[in-house]
Symmetry: C2
Subunit: 350 residues, 2 copies
Amino acid sequence: MNLFIALLAGGSGTRFWPASTRDLPKQMLPLAGGAPLLRETYDRVLALAPPERFLVVTSERFADAARALLPEIPATNVIGEPAARNTAAACAVAARWAASKAPDAVLLTLPADHVISPAEDLRGALVAAAAHATSSGALVTLGLRPTYAATGYGWIRLGEALAQEGGRAVHRVAQFVEKPDRTRAERYLADGGHLWNLGMFAWRADAFLAELARCLPDVAAKSALAMDSIARAYDGMPSISVDHGVLERASVVDCLPCSFAWDDVGSFAALARHLPKDAAGNCAVGPLLAIDAKGCIAWADADRMTALLGVEDLIVVHAHGATLVAHRSRAEDVRKIADSLGQAGLDRFA
Amino acid sequence: MNLFIALLAGGSGTRFWPASTRDLPKQMLPLAGGAPLLRETYDRVLALAPPERFLVVTSERFADAARALLPEIPATNVIGEPAARNTAAACAVAARWAASKAPDAVLLTLPADHVISPAEDLRGALVAAAAHATSSGALVTLGLRPTYAATGYGWIRLGEALAQEGGRAVHRVAQFVEKPDRTRAERYLADGGHLWNLGMFAWRADAFLAELARCLPDVAAKSALAMDSIARAYDGMPSISVDHGVLERASVVDCLPCSFAWDDVGSFAALARHLPKDAAGNCAVGPLLAIDAKGCIAWADADRMTALLGVEDLIVVHAHGATLVAHRSRAEDVRKIADSLGQAGLDRFA
């Protein structure tokens, strides 16, 4: 199996302001106090392929930072997108790159801003998915057994069971459902036949490019220029997700069910799941002193101390000369702050 | 009238951590966004005497900072106390200093960490108090007409009315009452015969020293060494307030009633009275962006931005590498944070 791995690191992460800024996106932050998420993503799967078989697709603004985080990878294997064009374009560029390396390339395409453990379980699932993609020619997506009735994720309705792959069941995908309402999500959770779509894919480069040419001919044509000039490839490149643009339209998509601890760390509120807590449920990256405080999350990008007194359920984040104090229930709205900086004359903190 | 003015700037202000630290006390902070309180105190009364007639009594740790804030005053007119010995010692040193300058010196002794306006009203009261002290030989304290039933201040019960001084009534003090309970405070407020004790005094240096020798002979004896060696004067100096040690025991204390806007800025919560507010009642020193936030106070010692999202009634203070987030109702307890730093291994932020 001629395996290649593409890490998609294109997001900006305004829900993580001020930790994430225009120049430092979520995937390059050590959000849970360890390594930056991109680096952790690489470390989890580096056992699957040598460094020269890794590709990172990110914004051209972040390309040098990505190279610094992953010095093992050849610098030319970090592609800086001149503009954000969603995941179909990034997946297309990655497939072009893999196909240029080997005609029978099999490609894993992974988001670079998730927290997953244990890494062995992830690797086992990815190897099985890649093996199935190799033998079947299908586009394969990983489906995670759900742990709650999530309304913010995409779900996969499983179809018929196919032959096992390395001792694992593989299913045809019957349907993709984007962000169902509460009632439907609860039904999905109860019926056992629906999984979360993680955005982690395995496919043969040639198979993906054939489906791309059929489903998104413009993206296919533009991406054909990418190995010569990423600027020309992205000039006029349509912006669409690979889920909507390709997977939902492809003739055959299979799903490899898997289960491991997974978190897309969608906001600061998610950090509480990854940090040790004191007796009152407070957690922190950086020095914290809490008196009569509970359920708070503090995060600092440097040796900045947070003192909490008589407060509850707050998110307090210090970074880049700014401090955010938000109620935990409003973590999703942090982007509103990030989006309002310019209008408030505070663009220097964006 | 041979007028001298002593500014007492000895407090440490742990209720203002992290803005105030071991090395930077409350009175040297620009709390309300203008000049530091010590500088504002000087500016309010500089019209009353030339700079060389001002004395600052502060901690020896803060002496150089005080000299930098008040460069007009001769450096030797800033006395650094080797240890905190409360206000009797500081008033005694100030009286010794004034007496050494002129045998008929009249001394105004003022706290350096209050906010008062308009300054003309204060100066008018001080001049009248000094004139009365000069002519009568009494110790004179300023009494402020109360605006609410304060339980945290000392009150003065007015006795018989004396001759007017510059068109102002002067009263004998019948009694000092320290921090009355709510019921008594409400009675005091209603009866009109009780005023707040501001800790602002006028007396002839010789009259004060005579009372000091009678009421606190140890302090009197020790303070006699101060003009030669402040270290020797403070070695073994008793620690007692001038109110308890002298005023409550003196044979004659008179009170000059006055009224002006006065605030001892006892905690960060008091800042809200001195800062402009947005429509939701938020106020700030430093850049602030508030979304769905109300009643919050933000304060930064530098160009550090505060973003508030979905929170209410918080105090957020950034200074010296630390950030405090406290509920407004807990402003008085900020000292608990300051006092816990060492134990928490965070002494570097103290």
